[in-house]
Symmetry: C2
Subunit: 202 residues, 2 copies
């Protein structure tokens, strides 16, 4: 970014303007962000969670509908119940019990956006929007050295009952949040398809 | 981020280690990123598009299925047809004609991920995944001073015919890409719901 170029502010000082994210540093953030499945017990300050929510709040959405809702569960009894009763069997996830925060990410559904619009566009755009806002949350967490994991293997009915949520609240994902117990490796290049497999230029 | 702290490298120089994205700079990136609906005619170098694709490629996805596919349309005849025949009536978008690149973002659908999995989870996770990867693309573009706009108001059948795409390719969004004709304002705070409206702590 041009704003990174040094400017001589005083005769013997170089002052860098550090404000903008350039392509390289954004790619580094993306590579650093791994699914974290082992958390330390250190609590996460509310201010840091607030930064994640702020990044999510500012996300773009279809018709600016902002369907995303975040329930930040810090209470250890509720978290315990979500992680023991609210997950689906088959894939044991005992590590969720150690995460100091479980975020329940959902959408506030409405007739216009979730029934009529998909009839025209054939796409449930609130799901795309939830992906966008959720990833803003996750990347903002990574930018603060916090670990996260998207969790899709849950029992919606049970979590809705545990948290006393209305039926209009469609739970779409859980996101675990906390400090990683140990440093995470970068995203392995071999774990992803090649550019040629996912993109084509015309 | 700790890596930002200055260290005295020489007696009269402060050297900053500029590599990591911190919460403040990530929020600035998110705020800077507006939907761009007025493009300059300057072409976008392939290398910059490649950086956007690389950021998208590394995105997380449900079961690491990586359903996203990007068709980067630079050819002006194809672009012209997409923007004239491929958009839905009702909301005129003449500005799309000026964008030097139209990205067709879709999912390669399969029986397991798009029929069986949603029966269990009740959620079409490939749509969430498309949101995540598409937003990586969009934020990487912003980090390179490129403008983008998610476009959901299109005629899937017509675009599929124009680009000769198979039925397994589900088009989920278009993304216009190019240099903004004029600087964009930051995201207006008033255009988004408040934190209290989208988040709750328990």
């Amino acid at each position: 970014m041009k704003s990174r170029s040094p400017s001589r502010a005083r005769s013997h000082y170089w002052v860098f303007k550090i404000s903008a994210v350039d392509s390289k540093s954004f790619l580094e953030l993306v590579k650093r962000r791994r699914s974290c499945r082992d958390y330390s017990e250190a609590p996460v300050p509310d201010e840091l969670i607030g930064n994640c929510l702020e990044a999510a709040r500012l996300a773009p959405s279809a018709c600016n509908k902002q369907p995303w809702r975040f329930i930040v569960v810090k209470d250890c009894v509720l978290r315990g119940r979500i992680c023991s009763e609210g997950l689906l069997p088959g894939i044991p996830m005992p590590w969720t019990q150690k995460a100091p925060v479980i975020v329940v990410l959902g959408a506030e559904t409405s007739i216009v956006t979730h029934t009529i619009a998909p009839l025209i566009s054939k796409v449930q755009y609130h799901l795309v929007d939830i992906g966008i806002a959720g990833e803003h949350f996750v990347l903002a967490a990574e930018a603060q050295d916090l670990g996260t994991c998207w969790i899709g293997w849950f029992n919606e009915k049970k979590i809705r009952r545990i948290l006393n949520l209305p039926r209009s609240f469609q739970i779409l994902s859980l996101i675990s949040l906390g400090y990683p117990a140990s440093p995470l490796e970068l995203v392995q290049d071999s774990s992803r398809m090649k550019i040629e497999e996912i993109a084509k230029f015309l």
